[in-house]
Symmetry: C2
Subunit: 542 residues, 2 copies
């Protein structure tokens, strides 16, 4: 029987209108690429979104369903683009600025971006490939000085574009299942693949991340968005801040640990997001140069890679700041699980608690997860049985853009993540590895993630990445690439083997260690194991 | 452009599956009508819901779209009915047990309930009208002794019904816009009107109530559901507990202050809901007989009527327990606003803070509110301009059941609440009165709610209800009916007029006071001003 409730679409415009209505006095603070601090209210952003909507439709000829690219850092204009572009029914497509030229070219042509909004400091990256971009009609320059020079054709300054426009604009009523945003996977295997988020998925994802069991964000919070807006829509934070009434702090290109610590202090940031690499950097910098006053920061939400136990422990012991592990993918909007302790863990030892907090955690309402074994059976939730993590839910894709490739989906409609995981009796999922990173040695599986996490707990190791390399006897064996904190201090293979001996059985422990100045990283800051394997195959890892 | 996200309907079954998957070990604790304590896990409830689904479809012949009534207290079987009935695509219709026989008869016939699940202790109420109920085929008896006798025809014991059934049941895939639940307005004016909630509205309402700015419920909470399940689905709490992983405590008919205080203590309840009358009773009982240990209760969420400032203050000062005012209606699922302080209020005095907390508060994401003046213009958010409160959103009705009456809706699609309100610059809405309860004296408006709240702050007044009565000079004047805490202690009209003089101007202060043993209340515990007016017109208020 049909209900008698209002039809009230869940759209990014619903979010924008709510933020402007209830939290118009909340702030968006940007540290611009030139270091200048910019601050304005949600209500200012709202008015400029309407100007932008007029500019997009009247000046640039953008229509509902068109895809509009951004090539930009995290800043207030980029937030305006999120709401302005999707508000007129077009699709906001933040392009990852850290990809190779050929990947960027592929993505822009594949998505058919009609306009690209580009930060002045990033213009050189687009100038190199602009002649190859087939669909781009305009480049709109963000944060550019008046006399900015570029070889890009058809450029407009963003402020000039807005200056001409009226603040009056009537948002169209949108279908919540239409696309509002687009991101490409980082393409660690094969070509990047496009993902089209809907208004509805974006709204539901944001609403759920606010809840206490997840991010726990309220109108008493000030959030620092370290995760780039070009990386899975900054995990939905530009949306959820308007729903929760949290102030937003945006670092643009000021991502050095010192700069971020300065923002945490100056803006009294209470919560932040970021990949482990960022938090490792912040931690080590704070250790070397402890802040004079205790930070207001209560929690940092981490995803993208496993949060090392040693980092969780160190941050909490040294600075009273809690690391919260989350998990997600471009294909899942991204957040799907979070690891927070519950009442039944109260009696556990500190170390047992850390083990749980270092897991990827339990599913949010709105998504479901399961583990399928190699034999195609559902794995029991015993915390031991490994298999492929599969997920379905309200913010999970059912297809990639412009492909009919169904390899990533099961016959019964679940998305295959490619992660090898377990789920424990309390529902906590733990990623053991990417399917392709798992090491099979003498017929036994070895988790590279577990080894890396353990190695990074060593006081003289900053980063560790473990890959499988061929072995005559065991078929594969683990090889650890490590970055030392203090290179003067010798940390031998023998010492590390002894160090790992407490946690791992003999066959799992790497015998081979190579010392690097830095672990190669992907465009989103994860250890780039593809690159490490290439270095190894070229004989460059010794 | 169509997005590429999964179709994942938001249904009560989605909630049930989530609760069972992630929080299977959480508890539902019932204090049954006979005083016995019953406890089981979400996973037990889940299995019994599947048995119930089999019984409904196979034994009772219930089909998708059928309406199934309940006439019951808050207990675990009633929770099973919520999920089991809506899970098969039928509509769960909790009938208010506190209505008159003729209203109950009207509601059952109007909704066309095919089956009624009825608590043994409530059977006498239905026996009286059973011959008049045209559509009811079966009565299923809840919490009835084996040898229970009744004149009702076609009765089955609930446990017998489930005992025969399998725990295997495949939930159908439902349309989220279909009805899952039904409630009737309490009918203080005219006949009760049916409201049909959708799966989607129920899901979105529950999700939003969990967020920190609203109810702030997590898996560390144990919730006491004092609001009856027959009163706007217990404010959605049986749903949200499964999403937030909160234990549920259900009092059934044990609603005496002493019984509730006992549950708060024994079950370490952290949060609870209820109308002000309930909390007034608990407060006065705790004052007379303070609990030996501090309660685990942190907050109580209040709606249905205005929470008197004096109660907020007393509970917090005496017991460290925070009262949180919320507002809603049957037509709005019910919760639409909540009043919590924000950072900008930090500098205010205690009394100013209380003034804000006693307001009905700001809108949740998913609903929008506005005030329309008598002249049909949008009232400014100045905290002063009064007008009718209007609301729209994802859990607001667009029509009543079986009526084409559009009087309650504006041409541009907002629901007209019938409440006279203001909205302040921070977005906090305050109900000044029901349109029909507002007093117009000498051409000036007087808020009965404000007078009641002020009177109830008097140390010797337990309850106060103010109505308009005819006056030769001023057309209308206020008349206050009051219930004293200590009847031995004389509290004169002169004393009360002096008491109100600090807060009100002379023409607003009632000159006439009548002393009652109890204020007449509606079926949902609100002051029944219709009844008070009848008493007055019959000359019974002296």
């Amino acid at each position: 029987m049909e209900s008698l409730m209002m039809n009230y679409p869940l759209t990014t415009t619903t979010i924008l209108e709510y933020g402007n209505s209830v939290y118009h006095y909340k702030k968006i603070i940007t540290y611009l690429p030139d270091g200048e601090r910019h601050e304005y209210f949600f209500s200012d952003m709202y008015k400029r979104c309407k100007k932008l909507a007029n500019a997009l439709t009247q000046k640039l000829g953008i229509k509902s369903g068109d895809i509009v690219g951004t090539f930009a850092w995290n800043h207030y204009a980029h937030v305006e683009l999120y709401y302005g572009i999707s508000g007129i029914g077009a699709v906001c497509h933040p392009i990852n600025i850290r990809l190779s030229s050929s990947q960027t070219e592929y993505i822009v042509n594949n998505s058919e971006d009609r306009v690209i909004f580009v930060d002045a400091t990033l213009v050189p990256l687009l100038e190199k490939i602009a002649p190859l971009l087939e669909t781009v009609e305009y480049y709109v320059l963000l944060n550019a000085p008046k006399d900015f020079k570029t070889t890009l054709q058809n450029t407009i300054q963003y402020e000039d574009l807005l200056a001409e426009q009226s603040e009056e604009y009537q948002w169209p009523i949108l279908n919540e299942n239409d696309a509002c945003g687009m991101c490409y996977t980082s393409g660690t295997t094969g070509l990047p693949k496009g993902v089209l988020y809907s208004h509805r998925s974006t709204y539901l994802h944001a609403t759920n991340i606010i809840t206490p069991n997840a991010g726990n964000f309220s109108n008493e919070d000030t959030l620092l968005l370290i995760v780039p807006q070009f990386h899975v829509m900054a995990w939905g934070f530009p949306y959820l801040c308007l729903l929760s009434g949290s102030n937003m702090v945006l670092p643009s290109s000021n991502l050095q640990p010192e700069a971020l610590i300065n923002m945490l202090q100056a803006e009294k940031v209470t919560k932040a997001n970021g990949v482990p690499t960022i938090w490792l950097g912040i931690y080590h910098t704070m250790k070397e140069n402890p802040p004079k006053e205790k930070l207001a920061l209560k929690e940092y939400l981490v995803g993208g890679s496993a949060l090392p136990k040693s980092l969780i422990e160190g941050f909490e012991k040294d600075f009273g700041i809690k690391g919260v592990q989350a998990w997600g993918m471009t294909e899942t909007s991204p957040l799907g699980t979070v690891s927070r302790l519950q009442l039944q863990h109260n009696h556990l030892s500190n170390n047992e608690k850390l083990d749980i907090r270092a897991k990827q955690g339990f599913a949010f309402p709105g998504v479901e997860i399961r583990i399928m074994t190699d034999e195609g059976t559902l794995a029991p939730s015993d915390g031991n049985t490994m298999g492929e993590l599969q997920i379905k839910g309200a913010w999970v894709i059912n297809s990639y853009f412009k492909t009919n490739n169904l390899d990533s989906f099961t016959a019964d409609g679940w998305f295959k993540t490619g992660d090898v995981s377990t789920i424990d009796p309390d529902g906590y999922m733990e990623i053991k590895d990417r399917t392709k990173d798992l090491i099979k040695s003498g017929g036994e599986w070895i988790s590279s993630v577990a080894l890396e996490s353990a190695l990074m707990a060593h006081p003289n190791i900053r980063e560790a990445a473990v890959i499988a390399v061929p072995d005559q006897k065991w078929v594969e064996k683990p090889l650890a690439s490590i970055v030392l904190v203090n290179k003067e201090k010798n940390t031998t293979a023998a010492e590390l083997i002894a160090f790992l001996d407490r946690e791992f059985v003999k066959y799992q422990i790497p015998k081979d260690y190579v010392y690097l100045d830095e672990i190669p990283k992907t465009s989103v800051g994860k250890f780039d194991k593809k690159e490490i394997r290439i270095l190894f195959s070229e004989g460059k890892l010794k």
